[in-house]
Every structure is written in structure tokens, then in C-alpha cells.
Amino acid sequence: MPDTPSLDELSKESTDFCQTFHRLRAEIGEVIVGQESIIDGVLVCLFASGHVLLEGVPGLGKTMLVRTLGQAVDLDFSRIQFTPDLMPADIIGTTMIAETPEGRKQFVFERGPVFAHLLLADEINRATPKTQSALLEAMQEKHVTVAGESHALQEPFLVLATQNPLEMEGTYPLPEAQLDRFFFKLKVAYPTEDELRMILSRTTEEEEPAAHPVLGREDVLKMRRLVRQVPMTPEIQTFAIHLLLATHPDTEFSGDQAKRYVRYGPSPRGLQAMILAAKIYALLAGRYHVAESDIERASAPALRHRVILNFEGEAEGIDVDTIIAEAIERAKAPSP
């Protein structure tokens, strides 16, 4: 039976979590200019055991962000550039004939780039659905099966996928099932003028900045365990559930926009993502419990890629975030 940590230990652990998180963010900020919310979202996914989908035009530093994260947390990092001719074996690996020292030939599993702690799936929507689906098992089950043999992935395992929202030609949009595997979908915004100036000064001068390791693999796993211990009241759970149901088109909590523009609402996996992210936000706020404000903060990145708009919604150009904002208002308890 594991020893129950004392209150002081827990308090220190929580304080350490907060400090480590902020230190890690500051370290990444040494390389990445701006994009604080994106960095926060990626770190939340790291500590919540989730995967993140980054959506933004090329050149905004998505790949740089992932590489910097790998440096800062001292984890294995690999990168796959998705192309239409990419095959599943290029991701998960394949069996090859190898000669033993005794001169015998045998099949040996050659690991693919998925066997890393941090995996950058760059321009994931350029690969064919067959190749995309090869990531499904890895992302959800944390292991891959090749030639009838399962190979477990190392913890922590975090997939950071990027996609370009503008290009339509020659792309294969991710199916809903695969989208649902992503913990967060973060929209990478274009840098401001000041940020652009700072990017120039950092990247065009003699010495380019580099991130230094702040924490190791064990620290990450320990922080993940702490996150799951953060308690929440049944009322907060109810609020989160109502919020989720309010994004569906055919529930008693559905708002007008959800009824009109939504085809399918988020799955329960979206609720799990929302709660886990809210717990991290609570710890970052110095609290030991989840509040409604944490749920609200986590709702948009956790649900926006899980809400499937109908044709009318897409034709009208409806932003899913407005539907989520409406759902938050409907889920809130009536004010006195």
C-alpha cells in the first residue's frame, strides 16, 4: 500500500508544480517569441497526458516550439514530415531481415519515429488517411502493433501535430475519429509587430537562443500524477457536463446556435480533456480544487475540434468558439 503523502508534502508538490510550469514556460519563451497561450496549451497537454493539434499558417514557429519543448524537458524528440506518399511503416517502423553474429538471418523490428517522447507530426493533413490512422493506435493506446507483435511506447508520449488551414489542394482533412484523439486544438496566431521585431533580433543575429533542460522524464510523470489528484465538487462536474451537452444540437441544454449549426457534439473524451486541463489551470492558479473559471478556460481548446458543424454552419462560416461561448452561458447556474 503506497504511503499517503502528508499535507505538507502535497502542498510542496503543488507549489513545485506551479514553479516548474512557470520555469518551463519561461525557458521556452527564451526561444519562442510571444504565443504564450500556445505554450501554455502545449504544456497543459504535456502534463495532462494528451496530444495537441496546432493549426496555423506556415512559418509561425510550430516546429520550433515542439523542438524547444523537447530540449526544455529533456525528452526524446522526433519529427515526421507528412507527405502524400508517407506509409504507415514510415511512422511506426517495420521488420527487417538482419544477420545475427552467428550468421543466421532473423526478422528484427526497426522502430519508427513514433518511438519517442515527443513526436512532431508536421502537416499531418498531407498524408493519406491510411497513414494518418496509423497514428490512431499510437496516440490512444500508447503502443503499436507490427506483424502481430505489440510494442509499447515510452511514457511520456506526446504527439504534436500541425496543419495548415489554408491549403485545400492535395490535403486529407483529419477524420473526426482522429481529431477526437487530440487533447487540445490550438490556433497559432500571427505575431504582432513587436513580436516580429523580437523574432528578427533573435534569429538573424550571430548567437541563436537555445533552451536548456528544466525537468526530466520522471518529473513529468510525477507532475502528471499530481494533476489527477486535484479534487472537484459534484457541482463543478455538473457544470462541465452541462457545458458539454450544450454544445450538442439536440439536448435540453442546447443553445440556438448549437441547434442550428452543429451536426455532432463533442464526445465524452472532450469532457475528460476539459476536466484534466481545468485541474492543471487550478494548480497554476494556486488552488487545490477546480473552479468554474478553470472549466471555462479549458473548454474552447478542448472542445473546438470536437464540434462538427453541419453544412449550414460551414457555409455561414460559423466560429466554433462562439458556440462554445454560448454553451458556457447556458451551463452557468442562473444568477441570483
Binding site: 499517503t4 502528508s6 479534487p231 465538487t233 457541482e235 480544487h289 441570483p336
Partner: protein
């Protein structure tokens, strides 16, 4: 179960709950008070409009207070906050990120996890530095707007059914009613029935009625005045009848004279001479004689027989009230009922006396016909009586006009239907005719529908006379039905385009996402469907 060490939290929450309850009570009073005042005003307006007496202000105040208290209790019972709700409200107003609520929930769990205990400590230390939140300004709830009509109905129902004792005291009777009462008393006194007195009374009545025409009377006084007028009219009619007695026929007088010839020749002579005053005195004298006889049976029998014989000789055309009295006297004589016979004979004597006074009697006691039976006083008396009756008719007409007219009489008294009446608040009332007594909507001649949309009477008259509706039986004639087939229905769409477009939404989406459509071409497909979307 409350974990130890959390008393401060519970105490703080209870204090905040008390603050909330006070605030809610204030909100309830602030909401209910205007509603009740408005409702009271509405109810008073309705009562005024319906002509129902208003209740006393104490009753109104008591009713309003009762409603206020009931509403307050109901509101507080319905919105009494639990500690959990109080904690959530505290967090809401103080923006404490659910700290008080979380601490309360976790504190109620005696087996809380370590991080829950940590959460309680964190929340309590945070809340210790927190003062009670500033609540936003109170606004009355608009959700109670459905109450005024309901309360109005209840108030109207209760006030309309209250007992008479709670109604305000009736108005004192106006002088006109007293005047009519005095007139009634005076006319009932025979001494006041002289022509001079009647003339004075008629003048007095005229003067009073002139004043009455300018007076606005309440319903109660109007009814009392009508009652007095009816009594006075009845008395005047009796006097008028007495002033115009019906003459007996000579045959009747002759028959009476013949019947009493054997008993009193003087009486018979007086009757034959037409001296009815003397005849009346003789008749009384005769009855006294008969009554003084030791054995009047034989006399009575003879009297009955002679009376009956003479009555049998009379034709029907010759009979009047005297015949009837004689018949009754004959029956009483035959049955030897002396006392009743004597009374009947007195009545006959009185009739003779009145006839004598009215029809040229030589002398008599004062009657409406004038003192001393002078025939010269009769026209004056009749004129005074008629003058008073006319005045009473005018009084009735005035009173009915004030009341708004009765069905079948209007202001001009010419046409059936409703008369012109004072309309409450200027609203037309069902059953009212127009000023000319026409049978407008609601009159007794109203057929329930009009020929024009505005309800105007549009019936036209032809040179031959007013147009009449042709008589006939409906559906009695022949008719034919012919079915004409056309292609009109086949050319229309079976369903609206909009409905079809909405019904096929799922298929449309499936087509875009599921079919073998190149990804790059999906955008154009979406634009196509966009272009054929109906305008909403």
C-alpha cells in the same frame, strides 16, 4: 457531518445567508407593493365602473397587507437558500473561484482526501481575508407580472360579495321624498280633500318637481322616490274615481224603491223623487227600526223576498254596483244575519249619499266633490287631481331618464328598444338603441347580424314601401353539382422548396464528406449548395 475546525466557515456562510434573505424580502416587497397598489387601483376602477360600492379604506388596507404578507412568505419559502446555494452565491458575488462552496462541500465529507483537506485550508485562508461581497442593486423581479390580473379578479370577487353592513351608509333622503311623503299623508286626511287644499297641493307638487329636475339622485333615492310617487298616484286615482262616481241607473233606484215600499214608504218616495241624500238617511232609519224589532225575522224575510223579486225584474244592461249590493243585501236578509245586513245597508246608503252629492243631491257632507255637495266644486277638484297625476307622470319620466331607460321605453318614448342613456366611460353597451330609438345592435329587434360591417342599418325603402324579405324555404329548390377536373393540382410542387432543402440536409452533408469527391473540389460543391439555398 461537519469536519472539525470549519465553524468559522459555517458561521460566515450563515451570516451571508441572513443578508441574502433580508435582500430577498426587500426584493419581494419592492416587487409586490407596486403590483398590489396597481391591482387595488384596477379593482377600484372596475368597481366604480360596475357601480359596486367601494369598500372602506380599512378593508382595502387589510386586504393589501394580507396579500403582501402572503406573497412575502410564499416568496421567501420558495427562495430560501440552502448553505450550498449561499456558498455559490457568495462565490458568485465575491469572485472567489468557488472557494467557499468547495470548502463547504469538502468540509461536509469526514473522509476527505489529502488534497481535499489542502483545498479546505487554502479556501479558508483565502476567505479569511475576504469581506462580505457587495451585492448589486436590487431590482424587482419581472417574473411576477402575471399576478396583477389574478389579484384583480380575486379582489373584485371578494369586494363584490361583501355583506351590506360593510358598505358605506346610505345617503340621506332628499327633500323631494319627504315632500311626497307629506303629500301622501295630507291626501289620506279627508279634511285636506277640499278643492282649495287639492289646488295648493298640486301647486306644491309642481314646484317640488321643478327642483327635482335639476337634482342628481342616487339609485337608492331614485327607488325611494319612485315608491312614494307610486303610493301618491294610487291615492290620487282613488280620489279621482271618487270624484267621478258612476251613476246608478233609474231602473235600479226604482227597483230599490219598490222593494222597500212596504217597509218605508218615505224611503221609496225619496228614491222616486231622486232625493238620494234623504233616501240614504231614510235607509239608515229603516235599518234601525228593523234592528229594534223584537222579532225581525218576518220583516227580514219580506225584505229579502221583495228585493229578490225586484232584482229579477232588472235587465243586465240596467245593473250596476248598486244591483250587486242589493243582491248581497237580499242574501243577508234571507239568512237573517242582522248585523251584516245592517252594514250592507249602510254601504248602500253611503253609495246613495255619494251619488246624491255628485249627481245633484240637495245637500251632503264634504267630499272630493266639494263642500256641501256643490256640483260647482267638482271640475276644480278633478282639475287639481289631474294636474297632480300629470306631474307624477313627468316625475316618472324624469326618473327613468336618469336611470338610463327601461327596455321598451326610450327617452322620447316613441319606439321600442333602449332609451338614450348615460354611458359609463363613453363605452357603448350591449342592448342599447340609438337616440332615435332605432333597433340597433342589441335591441329587441336586433337579428344578431347587420347588413354592413359597421353595424349600420342599411335596409332601404322602395317607392312601394319598405323592402321585405322574401318568404321561402331554404334548400327546397333544385340544385346541381358538377365536378370539373383540372390539372391545377398536378402542376404544383408537393412540398415547399425550403422544406425539401432542410429535409435533405443530412444527405447533402453526407454527399460532401462521404462520397468519392476530390478534397480540393469539396469547396466548390459547398458553394453550389450554398447558391441553391432558399432565402429564409
Amino acid at each position: 457531518m461537519v469536519a472539525p475546525g470549519n465553524d468559522a466557515l459555517f458561521q460566515a456562510l450563515r451570516a451571508f445567508r441572513a443578508q441574502l434573505i433580508r435582500r430577498r424580502a426587500l426584493v419581494a416587497v419592492g416587487t409586490l407593493l407596486p403590483i398590489l397598489l396597481a391591482t387595488g387601483a384596477l379593482a377600484a376602477l372596475f368597481l366604480y365602473w360596475a357601480g359596486i360600492p367601494l369598500p372602506s379604506w380599512e378593508a382595502v388596507l387589510l386586504t393589501e397587507l394580507t396579500f403582501l404578507l402572503v406573497g412575502l412568505v410564499f416568496h421567501l419559502a420558495r427562495h430560501w437558500p440552502s448553505l450550498e446555494q449561499t456558498a455559490r452565491l457568495f462565490d458568485h458575488f465575491a469572485e472567489t473561484d468557488d472557494r467557499s462552496h468547495t470548502a463547504l462541500i469538502f468540509a461536509q465529507n469526514d473522509k476527505s482526501a489529502p488534497l481535499q483537506q489542502l483545498a479546505i485550508h487554502e479556501c479558508q485562508s483565502y476567505l479569511a481575508n475576504q469581506t462580505n461581497p457587495v451585492l448589486p442593486p436590487i431590482r424587482p423581479s419581472l417574473a411576477w407580472l402575471w399576478l396583477p390580473p389574478l389579484i384583480s379578479l380575486a379582489a373584485i370577487y371578494l369586494w363584490a360579495d361583501q355583506p351590506e353592513s360593510r358598505l358605506p351608509a346610505p345617503e340621506p333622503p332628499p327633500s323631494e321624498i319627504e315632500t311626497l311623503s307629506q303629500l301622501n299623508e295630507e291626501l289620506a286626511n279627508p279634511d285636506s280633500q277640499t278643492p282649495e287644499s287639492l289646488e295648493k297641493l298640486a301647486e306644491s307638487l309642481d314646484a317640488e318637481l321643478e327642483k327635482l329636475a335639476e337634482t342628481e339622485l342616487s339609485d337608492q333615492n331614485r327607488k325611494a322616490l319612485l315608491q312614494e310617487a307610486a303610493t301618491l298616484e294610487e291615492l290620487l286615482r282613488q280620489l279621482q274615481q271618487a270624484a267621478n262616481p258612476k251613476r246608478f241607473s233609474p231602473e235600479e233606484l226604482k227597483a230599490l224603491a219598490n222593494a222597500l215600499q212596504s217597509q218605508s214608504p218615505e224611503l221609496a218616495e225619496s228614491l222616486q223623487n231622486g232625493d238620494l241624500q234623504e233616501a240614504a238617511r231614510e235607509l239608515e232609519r229603516l235599518m234601525n227600526q228593523i234592528a229594534n224589532q223584537p222579532d225581525p225575522k218576518r220583516t227580514l224575510s219580506e225584505l229579502a223576498q221583495s228585493l229578490q223579486e225586484e232584482l229579477n225584474r232588472l235587465d243586465e244592461s240596467e245593473k250596476s254596483a248598486l244591483t250587486q249590493q242589493m243582491q248581497q243585501a237580499a242574501e243577508l236578509a234571507a239568512s237573517e244575519e242582522m248585523a251584516e245586513l245592517r252594514q250592507k245597508m249602510r254601504e248602500i246608503a253611503q253609495m246613495l249619499q255619494q251619488q246624491g252629492a255628485a249627481g245633484g243631491g240637495q245637500q251632503g257632507r264634504p267630499q272630493p266633490g266639494g263642500p256641501g255637495g256643490s256640483s260647482g266644486g267638482m271640475p276644480q277638484t278633478r282639475e287639481s287631481l289631474q294636474q297632480m297625476l300629470d306631474a307624477l307622470d313627468r316625475l316618472k319620466e324624469q326618473l327613468q331618464n336618469q336611470e338610463g331607460g327601461e327596455p321598451g321605453q326610450n327617452a322620447s318614448g316613441q319606439n321600442p328598444g333602449m332609451g338614450q342613456q348615460e354611458v359609463p366611460f363613453g363605452l357603448p353597451m350591449p342592448g342599447m338603441g340609438d337616440q332615435n330609438g332605432n333597433s340597433g345592435p342589441g335591441s329587441e329587434f336586433d337579428q344578431g347580424s347587420t347588413e354592413s360591417e359597421t353595424g349600420e342599418l342599411t335596409t332601404t325603402s322602395t317607392p312601394e314601401g319598405p323592402a321585405k324579405m322574401a318568404q321561402g324555404e331554404q334548400n327546397a329548390g333544385e340544385s346541381s353539382v358538377e365536378m370539373i377536373e383540372s390539372a391545377g393540382d398536378n402542376s404544383r410542387a408537393a412540398a415547399e422548396y425550403k422544406a425539401v432543402y432542410e429535409a435533405l440536409e443530412s444527405e447533402r452533408t453526407e454527399a460532401i464528406y462521404r462520397e468519392e469527391i476530390p478534397i480540393g473540389s469539396r469547396l466548390y460543391l459547398k458553394r453550389y449548395f450554398e447558391s441553391i439555398r432558399p432565402n429564409y
